[in-house]
Amino acid sequence: MTTILPTPPEDPTDPMAKRLKPQLSWQGVFSGVMYFLMYLPILVLTVYSFNESPYSAGWKGFTLTWYAKLFSDYRILEALRTSLLVALVAVAVAAVLGTMVAVGLARYQFWGKRLYLGMSYLPTIVPDIAIAVATLVFLAALAIPLSVWTIVAAHVVFCLAYVAIVVSTRLGDLDPHLEEAALDLGATPLQSFFQVLLPQLAPGILSGCLLAFVLSLDDFLIASFTAGNGATTLPMEIFSRIRTGVKPDVNALSALLISFSAAIALSSEYFRYRSERKKVN
């Protein structure tokens, strides 16, 4: 985590840095190319969303037709509504449960702790397809009808894990004595939890939530296995459309979603940066 700390001023006595700095290295050029390639697909989608010609690669003039079409597309808007509902509810539940996991694991020693730890990180490691299959089969075995709420329940599982990981990292950096001081000064455990620990954890919880929110909005496999016929999330709707080829209105949707996630990513980085700075001061 030291990587995020505001860096100390350059050490003029570091000979390595001095020797390497002015040169234009092949690694630098290569990295430049890789940065370009990382953003190329995003760039292409964005540019094409304004292209008048729907299918050819050539530029046929600027248009906002695809955006207009998108905003009058009932199915897309309905899918977006479903996705947002799923993400908001799942993240809200996961924020509470994930923080409980992080705090509980940091605070208590108990038999089976490693097992519990392993279980809580499992969703981040096991491939989505396996989680999706397992959840579907389990719900079918219990004869639970699939709906938007089964998607939420399944999303809470992985959202919880990501929140727990992010909060754990933050928790590891905290000063444990602050909470103890509060207890010594006569605060009840509940008071010290809500008035001392929680405010310190807030930036971590927030950045964990943003990550979980984006992952929930992005999930295609788990949602399509647990949705049944009742609900369609945005990735499911997009998938069914792009399967059959390139669609200009999906380009417009992509450009919007990409700007949206970039905004979330940057704000998450900002919150983390701020929390790191607070820690140093």
């Binding site: 491939p127 990292t169 909005l217 295609f220 998938f239 996630s261």
Partner: protein, 302 residues
């Protein structure tokens, strides 16, 4: 983001000193860890057990009675046609891991050791930023680039280079996978290279090592844990990847996850077979993680 992609769960805060441990735990652990544990048990652990049971039932369809009767579904996987799918899946995962390592190492090296220090954090964030955008749409973007009338071919045509038909080929799947998982590799390699002791590199060069020698004998051994962790993460992610093979690959790029998808949401409904394939994926991933943990611990920390 940094935390989210670590394949090895970060260990929570170090055990507290005696004063803390002596505090009575009481109901605390149950109140804090009970509800999330129950949720995970119900929606993660139990389901995996259920698909294990289901994987023992041959030819089951929704609505049938579960009557575990043997390993037929696992034997089915060994049929040449399915074995080829498994091998192709592992091949894709291995190849995309190699590509990510090859492309990611110079980038991580440059950011960690050669870029201006004050830019480093921004450079890392910039490289992983595309991860925050929809994986579905990023694969879709490659269709726009790779299709016969796409960006790549228009670009090649302006130079008079013959057209490439990459879409619906294995090459397109590899491009998509490598693109999707490269940021993870760079992130993990970066955090490993960033801790590299530069004085060792200096010492090596003072003692007459060429840059190439220094790289292989100092840099690589020092960052071997990062290399192992990054490779494992990319390997696992590629192994379970559904979107890239489905969207960018053709009928000939069938992978395990596509096969599983078809057993449940596709034309061929065979839940037992799909469950056994899922169990194989889960076991493969667990084995890979166990290997990393053993390997990671065995590495001497010089």
């Amino acid at each position: 983001m940094t935390e989210s992609v670590s394949p090895v769960p970060p260990t929570p805060a170090t055990p507290e000193p005696e004063e803390r441990r002596s505090r009575t735990q009481g109901l605390g652990p149950w109140i804090l860890l009970g509800p999330p544990g129950l949720w995970l048990l119900l929606l993660l652990v139990l389901p995996v057990l259920v698909i294990f049971e289901l994987s023992l039932v041959p030819g089951i369809r929704p609505g049938d009675l579960v009557n575990p009767s043997g390993l037929d579904n696992y034997v089915e996987i060994l049929k040449p046609i399915y074995l080829r799918v498994i091998l192709r899946t592992v091949g894709f995962a291995g190849a995309s891991t190699a590509i990510c390592l090859l492309l990611g190492f110079p980038v991580a090296y440059w950011i960690a050791l050669m870029s201006p220090r004050r830019w480093r954090n921004a450079l890392v964030v910039a490289f992983v930023l595309p991860l925050w955008t929809s994986s579905l749409l990023r694969s879709y973007a490659w269709i726009t680039i790779l299709r016969p009338t796409g960006v790549l071919n228009s670009f090649l045509a302006t130079f008079g280079i013959p057209q490439l038909d990459l879409l619906n080929q294995n090459a397109a799947v590899l491009i998509g996978m490598s693109y999707s998982f490269l940021p993870y590799m760079v992130l993990i390699l970066y955090s490993s290279l960033e801790k590299l002791d530069r004085r060792l590199l200096e010492a090596a060069s003072d003692l007459g090592a060429t840059p190439v020698q220094a790289f292989w004998q100092v840099t690589v051994p020092q960052s071997i844990q990062g290399i192992a962790a990054g490779s494992l993460l990319v390997f696992i992610s590629s192994l379970g990847d559904f979107i890239n093979p489905e969207l960018l690959g053709g009928a000939s790029s069938m992978t395990a996850s596509r096969l599983i998808y078809n057993q449940f949401l596709g034309a061929t409904q065979n839940w037992g077979f799909g469950s056994s394939l899922s169990m194989v994926i889960i076991l493969a991933v667990s084995a890979a993680i166990a290997l990393l943990i053993r390997y990671g611990d065995a590495t001497p920390k010089t």
